[in-house]
Symmetry: D2
Subunit: 138 residues, 4 copies
């Protein structure tokens, strides 16, 4: 069953410093691409930039990361980072993602991240306020 939540897309380009000794994008950089896409989409699509979040004393921390590598991205490749909320729990959200090479429309990497909302003061997980759940429920 498809997610009931909207899917959002961010277009980016591989930077030369992302390429590792195997001549492909270094595995851990896909992690960073998803992070960059979420920051972009929080601001542009959900109307809730991370900077506002931080000002309120909240932050998001990754509890689980799962990545399936399908095809490598290479030097100069443009790609789409598509992300969407799969589910919202009391203290966290599960965000799915796909990284798609623009030139071929082929899937390069997919997976999910489970984020927990934390109080930056205490470092502890916090129940997500309703107004934030509503912002995400689009």
């Amino acid at each position: 069953m498809a997610s009931i939540f909207s899917k959002f897309e961010t277009e980016m380009q591989v930077r030369p410093d992302d390429i590792d000794m195997n001549q492909h994008v270094h595995n851990s950089r896909y992690f960073d691409y998803v992070l960059a896409a979420r920051y972009d989409q929080m601001e542009r699509c959900y109307g809730m930039p991370m900077q506002e979040f931080l000002k309120l004393g909240f932050g998001w921390v990754v509890r689980t990361a799962h990545l399936e590598f399908k095809r490598p991205l290479g030097l100069g490749d443009s790609f789409i980072a598509r992300t969407w909320i799969d589910s919202i729990q009391e203290e966290g959200v599960v965000v799915h993602f796909e990284i798609i090479k623009k030139a071929t429309s082929k899937l390069c990497c997919e997976g999910y991240f489970r984020y927990i909302m934390v109080n930056l003061e205490s470092g502890r997980a916090e129940k997500i306020p309703d107004w934030i759940i509503q912002k995400y429920s689009i």
Copy 2:
């Protein structure tokens, strides 16, 4: 049930450039810590440095990465990266890992990586030769 394969350990220290805006080790760097531990242990513990592998025309690519983040590492922390083979399949191996903060002996991150052996010429997955399986079966 415990793995039948040996567990090996590599001690490392967080570098200042690993710290991100949240004052903790950036999530994607744990990925790199496990990679560094495997390179060290391939040479030191399995007697099969990656450089030899590359000379033979073989490489390892990550198909799946799964990470559970428990506690953050911070500036200057020393840690143990413990890895072990969970299972060996025809074309790949599943490697589990634990990252443990040295000062507290507490688990900071754990998970697994599924690696596929590839022929560097063709880029295709290759059946792992018996002699390599034997090297790993310790």
Copy 3:
């Protein structure tokens, strides 16, 4: 005296993984921004993408890097990486750069890189062929 060579510009955006513990772009990433701008401009402005270079058996290595940090870039900032050739010597080129924050048009970092052309086979510096000098002399 102004350079006789053209100045080219590449627009980029700070990625969240570029931010370090001081909440600003990590110093060493400016290095990577200039590298990314050069790759972009080699292809788009000089008509000589790095990939072609590599196919010919040539590469560029950095001999000297000099960076003056004026103002930090922060989370989400867009910026212009402007680069231009200052001089061409027998075996290398000196490339100047400026990194300018888009929102304020203020200079954040400037400096230069001296690159040497090397033969990838031998790893040795090589006299730059005339046709390459001509490509750069715009």
Copy 4:
């Protein structure tokens, strides 16, 4: 003339994620190696760890970085990062460095960084207190 200040050394090892598409340590990582060496030496040699500095509301920012690349470091290489204070001015210090490959004792990279002491609250440069100058004057 030799510096009147002590030279300190930190031994480190190249991590696989430091290697770039040219099979050598990525240029910008030398920047990070010097940073790591300074953090280590501030604590171990000057008796003034960065964490204490931050608690006092002070930080160090790089104003100038100059690097001369002599020979590349490669996969698995151990190296010595030697740093020393060249001069102390009212608001900053100039720190010289050498990166030496351990297996050959050959110089791989050298240069200097000019750091300014800033008040973290205001972000402004601050006159270095005498007690800090004394800590450094060894």
